[in-house]
Point group: C2
Chain length 597, copies 2
């Protein structure tokens, strides 16, 4: 099921106040009607072109036939509809051929597409990400020849980082780029886990490939970024010959089967042309631009899948009659909808708190992108940027964990039916399991947040986050119903800061391995803290709006308050054992001998 | 992969001291060599007949063709091998045609089979369970005609409880049993989720069917239990005509595909004969005998799947080279096996602690069955029985949660590879997701443990458990390396008891809905407490054995101590937020309006 529009409107307009963005010159041509129109179009396409084929795309996954990929035709039709409405171009600058829609609105649309059919959505997500890199770092000619057709949906993009022996460790990339007389490079190597690596959904595929120019430094400092088109493009934009990129295989995944995932071979015939983006040896820095965006995109997908499962299980729980309330001992009394049972409500509230909290988190990050775009001074832009850097691994990882757990509970609400392929919840669960793996595994993001994002810029990212959390706690503290939660958030923020100080101090005194040993758990705790903050802020908005609300609107706001209560009572307290463990600098994993396992 | 034999031997012989059972008259004909021989046979069959076909059974799931079920022929061959070695008969009394092997050993074999191929194993598990009910409550003729051939593996069994509208709520079973002049009954109705409901793996299928005799009480007090053979059996044991049981459909599941799961229609032609087991209206009590055994069996399966994933991911982590230790900034240094990375070790230790702890738990329950069988007085038998009743929902549910989480981490250790169908971990994860659903959903067991098992017999089950836990804490307290964990266990036991008192007091004062609202979380906490106890006991045994151990044996015991440390430092502290929530009698789910969701 799709994310309810009411939910999207609440975060976009009421919590994040996207309407006020139109007061800024960048969005002065837009107003709320425009944003609503974009959302309307996304819902229409998601409902008509994406959702009806999600089960089919899972059942008939892409196949490797005679060196090509075959897939169901509805994939192409859905993406054509997406491009008719220019969704790939939506958040890009008008100067680049984009629609200059705020990222807050664009990511809300992405969440809707992901809730409908994440496998189809991925092609658009990858294309936007790749185009963004070329627009940021490519030459004017590269922008014209590659990025513009990508925004128009004529060409699709990929990101080619991993190799069979190197997934998390990009330092070990072996693909070679040999400089040629004409300024191009000759690419040789294999790439693994390439989503959208081969298909005929678009006129061309633009691979962004990490490779080494011989003679460069070892490790990540010797990686360069290349544009490798599936079909070569002549300077006038017309197609040249096919480039030497071969499909070596198709990976068969547990889920997310609507997106083809490939093994690609570059330069098997010695004739694969690649075009350097920016300067040599700076490829990883460029690629991080794409990856950071893609990471928030992964969080958005996890949230979409989680919300879809929540809505399916909620509908089921309202309709499925079974059992009687506790205390009703009369077997002749009629069975009640299972939503009456406390444990089913707990499972629904947990899903609501995780998935709507996840949506609040990822759209907040999207709003930070918009804040950076409209900032009139470097200080404001810097603050938003540093906070975004800190929150990117959180926005990627926390939904990947807890929206997967939400899908687990969605299955549980449906019972045996949920375990069958007759209902979508098992597919959503399978799809969501990927999110902790692609675009950086969970453990990598733990190291990133504790080992890099926290200390960098003199801790400016955390300082900004703590300031914003305490400000929200102060605002909410004046509302009686929220005051206890406001206190909890303030206490938890201080506590988190104290533990962080211990860890950074330990890392700084030469014991980095010990300090970072439980970085994944640190990231989990930071995620819970951040989402608690987003819930308190959402509840503050809901409490205010409730005063003038009635009917289903009042129910909606009451639901926000209930989910906030759930999060502060059931979820935030789970961080304390994690923080205690982190503070103790536990050495269980560090002192472990491998032979003991 | 199979559970390592060393692991099974440790729990069976060193912790649970199954060898001493041979001092009892019941097992006087056996000795450790006999038990070893049984285990040897299980490992051989599991390695040769089960494991090699687990992936195939998943890929080519049973199909509904012309009213019959088609499945891969290796299913039949594996079960034939199982029966040649009399595994179904293993734990049954010699007087009933069994081998009188202790349940501790028999369940260890089951865990091995489940780790190899849970889909094949389920047929044997169901057959043993059904035979057990007939032996316990059936007539002599029923034992002769049905149970004996089941022990011999000639007939397979099923349990037919659920109907499409009634899974968790057996009070709403509608299938009718109409008494006939000859003492038999005519059965009419449909049953849902029937594993092993139709196949040609055995000469016959013996369905145990819950149905209502007209005129009986409403609800569960009006349910009777019937033997409904697929083919009727004449008094001399020869086959009569086919009974009127029709296959109405096959369910398509996310996992556990090696076991066919069916919809059955009884009496479509008005000619389905059923034979009453025991007395009318007492069927649910009889079926609970099967269900309680099946519930521990489900825990065993969850553990087998969890351990299999752990071993696959451990082997992968030892071999996969990627990344460098923290602090090694030289990209020219060779990559290390990923087992060197702290986060990978954490994921491996978590899997080890959950899955080996799960094995310790379920085999402890099996040992309680043996203790009951050899008890020479009613007091000892009663104590073991009451403890087993309390631990049955724990042994079913805790592994279903945490061995599934272990499988989730096994996928994570393998990264992208783990998400493909080229490695078994994604299948194990899909298989394991069923265990929280069948044989009573998680929430049902929460209500069972807090609403029934705790208060019954004047709280004798808990008293026995607390006494045993405190005794272990006392024993381990004298070992310096374990003393801190012994104190933690004692404190946690007292704390758990205090919270339990609050909840039972609340339930007793007419606020049962509030007291039971978070019963599932109570069960989770009880599971963590119980497994912490089993870890401390295992560590106590390991610490003692370590003094004389060397080489791989010393490593094995050190691994037990490390996993115990992990459990007490990372896992047991997670119970405190749950207990605080329970103690606060939180009403978030109870006061929730359905319209707010």
């Amino acid at each position: 099921m799709l994310i309810p529009r009411r939910e999207v409107d609440f975060q976009v307009y009421e919590v994040l106040d996207a309407g006020r963005l139109c007061e800024q010159p960048r969005y002065a041509d837009h107003d709320r009607d425009v944003f609503d129109g974009v959302l309307d179009a996304a819902y229409r396409i998601a409902a008509e072109r994406f959702l009806p084929f999600a089960a089919l795309a899972d059942l008939q996954e892409p196949r490797f036939v005679d060196g090509r990929v075959e897939m169901i035709p509805q994939t192409r039709e859905a993406l054509a509809a997406l491009n008719e409405s220019s969704f790939i171009a939506a958040p890009f600058d008008a100067a680049d051929g984009g629609l200059q829609v705020p990222m807050t609105v664009a990511q809300a649309c992405s969440a809707v597409f992901a809730s409908a059919n994440v496998g189809f959505h991925a092609y658009a997500m990858l294309t936007a990400g790749a185009a963004n890199v070329i627009l940021a770092f490519g030459s004017e000619e590269q922008k014209r020849l590659y990025a513009r057709p990508m925004l128009a949906g004529r060409y699709f993009g990929t990101m080619c980082l991993s190799e069979t022996h190197a997934g998390s460790s990009l330092a070990d990339v072996r693909t070679i780029a040999m400089p040629q007389q004409d300024g191009s490079y000759r690419i040789t190597g294999n790439k693994m886990w390439i989503s959208g690596g081969e298909h005929d959904l678009a006129e061309n595929i633009v691979h962004l490939v990490l490779a080494r120019v011989p003679g460069g430094p070892a490790g990540v400092r010797g990686i360069s970024l290349f544009i490798v088109p599936r079909r070569r493009i002549r300077p006038d934009g017309s197609f040249g010959e096919w480039n030497d990129v071969a499909l070596a295989g198709v990976n068969h995944k547990m889920g997310w089967r609507g997106t083809v995932n490939t093994v690609l071979s570059f330069g098997e015939r010695g004739d694969c042309a690649g075009y350097l983006v920016g300067e040599e040896h700076r490829g990883l820095a460029y690629m991080f631009r794409l990856m950071n965006e893609a990471r928030i995109g992964v969080g958005v997908c996890a949230v979409g899948l989680g919300l879809a499962g929540y809505r399916v299980s909620l509908e089921y729980a309202r309709e499925r009659l079974q059992g009687r309330p506790i205390g009703d001992k009369d077997p002749a009394s009629p069975p009640v909808p299972i939503i009456r049972h406390a444990d089913v409500r707990r499972m629904l509230l947990a899903q609501k708190a995780w998935t709507e909290g996840g949506l609040a988190l990822v759209l907040y990050c999207a709003r930070l992108v918009d804040d950076m775009a409209v900032a009139t001074d470097d200080v404001a832009r810097g603050r938003a940027g540093q906070l975004l850097e800190l929150l990117t691994p959180v926005a990627k990882s926390w939904p990947s964990e807890f929206c997967l757990e939400a899908n687990k509970l969605a299955i549980q609400v449906l019972g045996g039916y949920g375990y069958t392929r007759d209902y979508p919840v098992e597919r959503l669960y399978r799809d969501n399991r990927l999110n902790h793996i692609h675009e950086g595994a969970y453990g990598i993001h733990g190291l990133d947040v504790l080992g890099r994002k926290l200390p960098q810029h003199g801790g400016a990212g955390w300082a900004e986050l703590a300031e914003r959390m305490l400000r929200t706690a102060e605002q909410a503290g004046s509302i009686p119903a929220l005051a206890p939660f406001a206190r909890s958030l303030a206490v938890a923020t201080r506590r988190f800061e104290a533990v962080t100080r211990v860890l950074l101090g330990t890392a700084g005194s030469g014991r980095a391995e010990l300090a970072l040993a439980n970085a994944t758990l640190y990231l989990e705790a930071l995620g819970h803290l951040t989402v608690a903050w987003r819930w308190l802020d959402s509840a503050r908005v809901a409490q205010r709006a409730l005063q003038d609300a009635s009917g289903s609107d009042a129910d909606f706001y009451q639901g926000k308050l209930a989910a906030c209560r759930y999060f502060f009572r059931y979820e935030l307290p789970r961080t304390e054992p994690l923080l205690s463990l982190l503070e103790s600098l536990d050495d269980t994993t560090v002192t472990l001998h491998e032979t003991w396992l």
